[in-house]
Symmetry: C2
Subunit: 431 residues, 2 copies
C-alpha cells in the first residue's frame, strides 16, 4: 500500500511540471495524503488512560472491572497496574492468558516464545490467519497493544531451554525497573508456565527455584480433552522436579516427537478453560481474594475437576528446591508468631464486640428491645425489593394465604366453625 | 477510505477532460485502482478448504482437530461441517463461544444481538477497540469470517424479545436450506443462550419449547465470580420456566436496571471459562463423545463446580413445555423398546465372543496357551516405550533389582548362600 501511494505521488509530481495550472494537482495530492493517513492510523484505537476510573459509562474500558471493588469482591482493583506477570509459551493457553491479563489491565507482561504462527494453530483462540509467518511474540504484541495500550509489553523471541536463552530469561525476571520497590530477588510478581514440553517446564522450575519466585504451571493432555493448573511456591509446595512425570523424552526434542506420525490433538475449548482457570487463580493470588487452588484438574469428558495439594519432596533432585525447603523450615517460628499475632488481633477485635462483663463466662449478653426491633425492621426491609424488581413467586406467607383462600378454609371460616362448636356444646350442656 | 478513493477518481476524470494527452491520467488511475484493491482484501487471508484433511502439516488448519479422531476421542470429526448452531447474545460469553465453534470448523453459525460494541466491553475477550460503534453481530461476522472462511455465518441484528424479533427468530431457526434432510421442526442442531437477562431467556425457552429444540443456557453472576451452563431438552429436562429465578424485573427493561448506580462487574476469565464449558458440552452433544452435563456451575472463588439434574415441573406455567412433557411420557414405551433392543444387541455381541458351549452355565472358557503367551508378549511390548522416550524413574522390577544390588543381596549372592547351606547340611549329614 505504501509503495503504491509513493508511486502515485511521484506521478503527480511529474504531471504537475507539465501543467500550467497546478491547482488540480494540489487537490489530488491532498486526497492522496488523506489516504496515506487513513491507511496508517486506526481512527478507533483507544488512547491510554492515566488512572483507572470506576465511572459507569460506555466509553470506560475499566468500569466493569472497577465494579469488582464496589461489589466487595476485590479490596483494591487499581493495584493490578503495579503487577508484572511473565508468560512462558505463547501458544493455545499462553496467548489466551496474555489476552485475559491485558484486558484486565495488568501493569506489565513479559512474553517468551521462539515459535512462529502457523495455520495449524488456527483451531485455538487468539492468533489470526493474517499473522501466519510472524513470530508468536510479535503477533501477540501486535494484538495486545491494540486491545489495551496501557499494558507495558516486553517480548522475548527465544528458547529458554538453551544456555543463552536461560540466562536472558533469568536476567529479564530479575529486572526491577518497572517496580523498583519490589522485595525479593525477582522483578515479576508471578510466572505462568504455558509450555508444551518437559524440558521447558524444568527450565522455568529451575529459574523460579533459584529466584524464590512463585509460579503457576499449566498443561493440556495430548488428546485435548483434559488439562490442569498448579501453584508452585518454592520451598512450600512441591516443585516440578519433586514429582516429575514418569515418561520423558531423551536425546531428542520432545516437541518434534511424533509417534507413528500422529500430531497431538487440541481444542480451543479445553485450552480456553485452562487459560481462564489459570488467570482467574492468578488474579486471586495477585489481588488477594477467594482461595488460590494449589492444583486443579479439568477432565472435560466427565466435567470433573480434581484438586489436590502436593508437599515438597525432601529427596528432590533439584538443589535449589532443597535450599528453599530448608529456608521454609527455618522460617517456621516466624510464620507461627505471625499467625499467632493475627489470631490475637482477630480475637481482640472479637472481645471488643464480645462479652459485657469480665465474669460473664457463658458470653450472655442483654439485647436491647429497641435494637431487636431495629433488626426486625432491617430484616423486613431487606425483604423489600429495589424499585423495578418483583418476585416471580409469592413469598411464603402470601403463598399459604393464597392456598387457604383457594381451598375455602380461610381464618374467618375457622372462627365460624369454633362458634358453631361452642353453640353445640352450650346446647348439649343445656340439654 | 472508500469516500476518499471515489473523490480521487472523480477529480482525475475532471482533469482528464482538460488535458490533450490522457496517458498520465490512465497511469494515475491504475495506481488508484491498485490502492482500492489493497484496501479491501487481506493478502494473508486463508482460502476456503473443500474437505477437512488430517494431514500433519503446518498449513492445515484442521490437523489438530482431525487428530481427535485418530486418538479415539471422536468417531467422525468431519460431521462438524453438517451442524448449525444458533447463538443468542454475542456478549462476553456468546462471542467467545462463536469464536470457539468457528475455529472448530462448525458448518453454520446463526448470531443474534441488537447491541453495539462499546469500550466498556473491552474487559472481556473477542471485540477490539477498533470495532467500537459497530453492531456486535457485524463486528463478530467481520472477525469470524477472517478466522475461518469455511463457516457459513448468518447474523440477525435484532431483539428477540419484541413481537417481530421473536417471529424472525423462530422463522430463522426453522429454515432448513442448509441441511434439508434434517428431521424435526428446526433447521439448527443446537441453540446456545448467552444472554444477560430473564426476558431474553424466556423468549429462547418459548421458541425452543415450541420447536422441540434442544438448547443450552449459560449465565454469569453480577459479581463476575461465578457462572453456570445448563442443558434443556424440551419435555425431558426442566425448561427455563419450570424453575424460574425468584426475583425478576417488572415493568422496566432489566438490562437498564442499575441498583444505586452500580454496573455489573465482569471478568474475561469467568466468561472465558463459561464459554469454554458451554462449547465443550456442545461439541460432546453434537459429535457424540464423553458425557454432556445437565447442569454445571462454576464458583471461581473456591474453584467449585456443582452439578445437578432438573426434572420438568408438571405444574410449569409454559403450555408448550407441558405438551412436550406429555409427548415425552407417551413415548416412554418406544424409548424402553429401543433401550431393550440396544441392550439385547450388546448382549448378543457379548454372546458371540462368550461361552463356547450351550450348557456352559458358568461361562467357563478354555484359554489357548499360545494366546496367553501373545497377551503377555503384547503387555510387555506396551511397556516398551517408543523411540526417543525414556523412563524418568526405573520401572518397578528394575527398581527392586537396583535396591537389591545396592544392598548387596543380588540373586547370585542368594544362590551362593544356598550353596553354602547345602554344603553345611552335607557336612552335618556326613558328621
Amino acid at each position: 500500500m505504501e509503495v503504491e501511494l509513493k508511486a502515485l505521488l511521484d506521478d503527480l509530481d511529474v504531471l504537475e511540471k507539465s501543467l500550467s495550472d497546478p491547482a488540480p494537482i494540489h487537490k489530488l495530492r491532498s486526497h492522496v495524503e488523506n489516504l496515506a493517513t487513513l491507511s496508517k492510523c486506526n481512527p478507533h484505537r483507544r488512547s491510554k488512560v492515566k488512572e483507572l476510573s470506576s465511572e459507569v459509562v460506555d466509553s470506560n474500558p475499566y468500569s466493569r472491572l472497577m465494579a469488582l471493588q464496589r461489589m466487595g469482591i476485590v479490596d483494591n482493583y487499581e493495584r493490578i497496574r503495579e503487577f508484572s506477570v511473565a508468560i512462558v509459551g505463547i501458544g493455545g493457553v499462553g496467548s489466551v492468558a496474555a489476552e485475559m491479563l491485558t484486558r484486565c489491565g495488568i501493569g506489565r507482561l513479559l512474553l517468551y516464545d521462539y515459535d512462529t504462527v502457523e495455520l495449524a494453530n488456527m483451531n485455538r483462540l487468539f492468533f489470526r490467519p493474517d499473522q501466519v509467518g510472524m513470530t508468536k511474540t510479535d503477533a501477540a504484541v501486535q494484538t495486545l497493544a491494540e486491545i489495551n495500550p496501557d499494558v507495558v509489553l516486553e517480548s522475548f523471541t527465544m528458547n529458554i531451554t538453551t544456555v543463552q536463552g536461560f540466562e536472558t530469561f533469568t536476567s529479564s525476571l530479575t529486572n526491577k525497573s518497572f517496580c523498583p520497590s519490589k522485595e525479593g530477588g525477582s522483578g515479576v510478581d508471578l510466572v505462568l508456565s504455558c509450555v508444551d514440553n518437559y524440558e521447558a517446564r524444568m527450565a522455568v522450575n529451575q529459574a523460579c527455584n533459584e529466584l524464590r519466585q512463585t509460579w503457576m504451571e499449566s498443561g493440556v493432555s495430548e488428546d485435548a480433552v483434559s488439562g490442569h493448573i498448579q501453584l508452585l511456591v518454592p520451598g512450600e509446595t512441591a516443585c516440578f522436579a519433586c514429582a516429575p512425570p514418569l515418561v520423558v523424552a531423551s536425546g531428542i526434542d520432545e516437541r518434534t516427537l511424533k509417534r507413528e506420525g500422529v500430531c497431538a490433538a487440541s481444542l480451543p475449548t479445553t485450552m480456553g478453560v485452562v487459560a481462564g482457570l489459570l488467570v482467574q487463580n492468578s488474579l486471586k493470588f495477585l489481588l488477594n481474594f477467594g482461595e488460590v487452588s494449589p492444583y486443579l484438574g479439568y477432565n472435560s469428558l466427565k466435567d470433573f475437576f480434581p484438586t489436590m495439594k502436593m508437599r515438597p519432596n525432601p529427596q528432590c533432585s533439584n538443589v535449589a528446591c532443597l535450599q528453599r525447603q530448608k529456608e521454609y523450615m527455618l522460617a517456621k517460628p516466624e510464620r507461627d508468631a505471625a499467625a499467632k499475632a493475627k489470631m490475637e488481633a482477630d480475637a481482640s477485635t472479637a472481645i471488643d464486640e464480645g462479652p459485657l462483663h469480665d465474669d460473664n463466662e457463658w458470653n450472655i449478653s442483654v439485647v436491647d428491645d429497641e435494637n431487636e426491633k431495629d433488626t426486625t425492621k432491617a430484616a423486613s426491609s431487606s425483604d423489600t425489593l429495589p424499585e423495578g424488581l418483583t418476585r416471580e413467586l409469592p413469598v411464603a406467607d402470601e403463598y399459604e394465604k393464597a392456598i387457604a383462600i383457594a381451598s375455602g378454609s380461610g381464618e374467618t371460616e375457622e372462627e365460624d366453625d369454633l362458634e358453631d362448636l361452642k353453640k353445640q356444646l352450650e346446647a348439649l350442656n343445656a340439654a
